[in-house]
Symmetry: none
Subunit: 220 residues, 2 copies
DNA sequence: TTATACCACGAACGCTTGTTCTGTGTCAAG
DNA sequence: CTTGACACAGAACAAGCGTTCGTGGTATAA
């Protein structure tokens, strides 16, 4: 079942208006733009758009419209974007910079969509420096997005500070009797066993991003 | 001039609400959340936020709020969001699904910000299936974003189909006299040399995304 | 013809929501 | 002490806004 030309214009207008103004339009605003004098007609066609799965409506709420895709997820660019502070670098030989709860103004923010990162609180991002985390399948230049926390679930990928070794490492963590097993991401590599007193969890790794577009050179 | 704790909570609430619901909150919704019974007090504090340059208001418009940055530009509706079709899986033993220029309706779209991906044309995304690309530092479950192309620059990370081996692999590619060098991402691994006739470039890898949030289990 | 969707118009109702006005209490400057 | 800026509460008004109801025109099928 297709859309009428009028319904298509309504949909386009809702999209543009929402992105442009930062809020959805009202029924009367839609009507004025597509040339409908009656609010009930707009209402009628909006319900058609809902039936087609293009928008969602909230009842009895002003501007209670939103653009959705067929899975019901909010789709409009900009709605599901999270800003994460890029705090600095992470390297094997030094503690990672953790976010000061307060007002440390980050040099840089990185925007990520909700498609990629679900959580929002306590997130920060770090550039990986050096090749020391190859065993975690993490390379020089990668960006890791972490959540600050001092504990973790078994199997979580965490950044730990090994006190004796004075070293940061990224591993999956498993609590075992009297010891902690630090399992490299690379399944071909052997786990590392540590005394629980020696490991200090810095945060949980939620996301690894690798961009491969910094080369120039010749066509082959 | 700083913000009061109440004003900070108002600002945070407006941000979260707008992102979450796709529309800004009303004055009364703000008041209810931060514990202000009077709409005039909310109005008063909103004007403070305007004076501080954190939000912009439109007069006599319902939900006429928006988060702005200090340049006055709307900040939440990030302009730079790219939608990329998630076409399927990539595995060692089979050719990768390439996007039909036409109408192949993608099951799923993935939204990425311009912070992460700069290009826009000819992009598609694939789920990595299996552990065969560990040597490219790519794991089971990762998502790779590729650009469809048949040629590549030296040093590009490409997906190649090895005809004789009937195998897909992700490597950095270098043209050398009479042969092609396929260099694993992992610097500890040896390169692979191939006859140019045997390699068929499927596309260039621009981005690798790894999400690590699919485990449950016990607190340690 | 009648029936039945489908699409449209106008009007009215009532809750929603931004705005404004009056009043109160606090605190530092004069 | 007085003054004025600041922060807040409560109430009332008017416009904004979603909803509903009655009506009518135009197709297509029975």
């Amino acid at each position: 079942m297709g859309l009428s030309e009028r319904q298509q214009r309504m949909y386009a207008y809702i999209s543009h208006f929402t992105v442009d103004k930062g809020r959805p339009p009202t029924i009367r605003e839609i009507g004025a733009h597509v040339g409908i004098s009656s609010t009930s007609v707009v209402n009628y066609n909006l319900n058609v758009l809902v039936r087609e799965g293009l928008i969602a409506r909230e009842k009895e709420v002003s501007r209670g419209l939103r653009i959705v895709n067929h899975t019901g997820k909010s789709m409009l660019p900009g709605i599901g974007v999270v800003q994460i502070p890029l705090l600095g670098k992470i390297a094997a030989g030094q503690p990672i910079p953790v976010p000061e709860a307060g007002i440390a103004p980050p040099d840089e923010m990185i925007s990520l969509t909700r498609d990629i990162i679900q959580e929002q609180e306590g997130l920060f991002a770090l550039h990986v420096k050096g090749n020391s985390m190859i065993d975690a399948l993490i390379n020089d230049g990668d960006v890791v997005v972490m959540k600050k926390q001092e504990s973790a679930n078994n199997g979580d990928m965490v950044a730990v500070w090994l006190k004796d070794e004075k070293e940061t490492t990224l591993k999956r963590i498993y609590r075992e009797p009297k010891r902690v097993r630090l399992q490299p991401m690379n399944p071909t590599m052997k786990p590392l066993f540590q005394n629980p007193e020696n490991v200090e969890i810095q945060g949980k790794v939620l996301l690894v991003i690798r961009q491969l577009q910094k080369q120039s050179a010749v066509k082959i």
